[in-house]
Amino acid sequence: MSAARSKKKHNTDDYLRMYRQMVRIRAFEDNANQLYLSAKMPGLTHMYSGQEAVAVGICEALTPEDKITSTHRGHGHCVAKGANFREMFCELLGKEEGYCRGKGGSMHIADQANGNLGANAIVGGSMGIATGSALSAKRLGTNHVTVCFFGDGATAQGLWYEVMNMAALWKLPVIYACENNGYSEYTKTDEIAAGSLTARAEAFGIESFRVDGQDVLAVNQLAQRLVERCRKGEGPFFIELETYRYHGHHVGDINRDYYRSRDEEAEWKKVRDPISNFGNWLIDQKIMTADELVAIDKEIVSDAEAAVKYALEAKYPDVREVDMHVYAETAAWGETQ
């Protein structure tokens, strides 16, 4: 927590919100995983557990009007950007009250009201969208910033280089946030990424940063600074965040010894867990007591469970919805022919 040690206690509210949001993500994922293991969830899903400090550190630097784009591993971003458990679990279960009326599911969860333009099942698929959102902000003069989340594996998609070039040429208010969790699926990052990720962004004249993605305050401080600079027209930026996913690539990836060791997993959980480290720091700094934190954790866990229960009982969309929303209704054209 070095980067943050100098911070004053008047940030207590911010700290608490960050803590809560990280715990909320963890609780969401624990429940999602259980839903999978108990065969109550349709399909597969990708757990964000372990990476909470990234989503929370960054999203806490944003306003609800600021935009993010997310990935296949998108629950964390969604929670961090302000979503509710209920609509999220409903979406995961394909229910009508889900954020996307059950049509999107885990990999397409979006929450426009809070500026989340959506998860994406195409690796790297939202890099253009994020950059376009920043173009909107600049053209429309809204002063919004867009953060594009993606994984280390996604840096292999050519699209990133295309949009970085345009973002740099047009000085767009976009932050490319690469969550380097060391793996893309079942492959180590070193085996699929030559050279240096930050150098790749810098080659386009984009200022780049590396930060410990397990340290929510370090992430947040950097994000605040870059968001501010984006608003002043100094974007785009690139951040590489070193982090780790606790689960397999997806919930079904259980026997994973062949690509990474249990020791490695245990080590990260023990030494670099973003939540317990931040919790300990809060206690150290006398901002919170251990009991207070436990109380928060419990409350969140029970919120999550209630939401799961609600979602399990919620209804599926009516079959007549199947061909709704293929096309948006267009307001009258004033047709003359």
Binding site: S133, A328, T330, Q337
Partner: protein, 332 residues
């Protein structure tokens, strides 16, 4: 007031009028600004609207297509200029996985109002990577609308409608028609999507033709008229949505149909239209529906070869004669 203007000018007017009306419209593409595109279709727009709204991009089709999708989701209404229809392959992911599906996947919460303007058409001696007519590819993808103007008049009216539509629309201009003139009203007009146009009335055979194939059909109809065969020409104007009703009404009247489109024949636009006619006007057909698409070969460069790969008026005449005179087209 109606004057004659080129298709190129019609496109230019449509965009200029809409950009004046709606400041959220921006134009993105390679050499769209000062150069006004290699076809000079957009000349003058950057002078009127400035480089903030008429934006030259690097040669990054997937990139600027993706940027347009994100921009459309967040308040702009981008018109993307894709210099050649053959480059559609490069933007398919952003167009078909993202733009086409976003509204649906978000349960109706997000919208992607964008227009992808591109072109089609062979016989320009541009060889296999600059001559394709790829409308069938995008027509197959739910969530996209697809317009195929057949003259300056349609080019303007359909493009204005496309720009106002809240969905991603792909509009194919035939690059050989940019200098063709047609009467276009001075007053504003729009052409609704999903309404076919009876370009010529007739009794004996329906020619369903898209884009420049409407001209081919018209030439054929003239020749056929001299032989006493009366051809009706139906121009669907948009292939998604497709005005099935108008097409079927015509075929039920004439009892015969030829479908003409410049895309490759197999698994192409003619297949869909012919299949619908064959199914839904089954009991009215006096002869099999004939399809005329481009040959199933990459477009060859050599003029000696290229010209025989596309449907021609002579070919239409021949097919029309055969089905109208009751000859078996295939030893069926």
């Amino acid at each position: 007031m109606t004057r004659e203007i080129t298709l190129s000018k019609a496109v230019n007017e449509a965009i200029a009028e809409e950009m004046r009306r709606d400041p959220a419209i921006v134009l993105l593409g390679e050499d769209v600004a000062e150069a006004g595109t290699p076809f000079k279709v957009l000349s003058g727009l950057v002078e009127e609207f400035g480089t903030d709204r008429v934006i030259d991009t690097p040669i990054s089709e997937p990139g600027f297509m993706g940027i347009a999708v994100g921009a459309a989701m967040t308040g702009l209404r981008p018109i993307v200029d894709l210099m050649f229809g053959d480059f559609l392959y490069l933007v398919m992911d952003q167009l078909c996985n993202q733009a086409a599906k976003t509204h649906y996947m978000s349960g109706g919460k997000l919208k992607v109002p964008l227009v992808l303007r591109t072109n089609m058409g062979a016989t320009r001696r541009s060889a296999a990577q600059h001559s394709q007519s790829l409308q069938a590819l995008v027509a197959h993808i739910p969530g996209l609308k697809v317009a195929m103007p057949s003259s300056a008049y349609e080019a303007k009216g359909l493009l204005k409608t496309a720009i106002r539509d809240d969905n991603p629309v792909v509009i194919f201009e035939d690059k050989l028609m940019y200098n063709d003139k047609a009467p276009v009203p001075e007053e504003e007009y729009l052409i609704p999507f999903g309404k076919a146009h009876i370009k010529r009335e007739g009794r004996d055979v329906t020619l369903v033709a898209t884009s420049s194939m409407v001209q081919v059909a018209e030439q054929a109809a003239e020749t056929l008229a001299l032989e006493g065969i009366s051809a009706e020409i139906v121009d669907p104007r948009t292939i998604v949505p497709l005005d099935e009703e108008t097409i079927l009404r015509s075929v039920r009247k004439t009892s015969r149909a030829i479908v003409i489109d410049e895309g490759h024949q197999s698994y192409g636009v003619t297949a869909e239209i012919a299949a619908r006619i064959s199914e839904k006007a089954f009991y009215h057909l006096d002869a099999p529906v004939i399809r005329m698409g481009a040959m199933d070969v990459p477009v060859p460069f050599s003029p000696a070869l290229e010209d025989i790969t596309v449907p021609t008026a002579a070919g239409v005449v021949e097919n029309a004669r055969r089905i109208c005179r009751g000859e078996l087209v295939h030893a069926a």
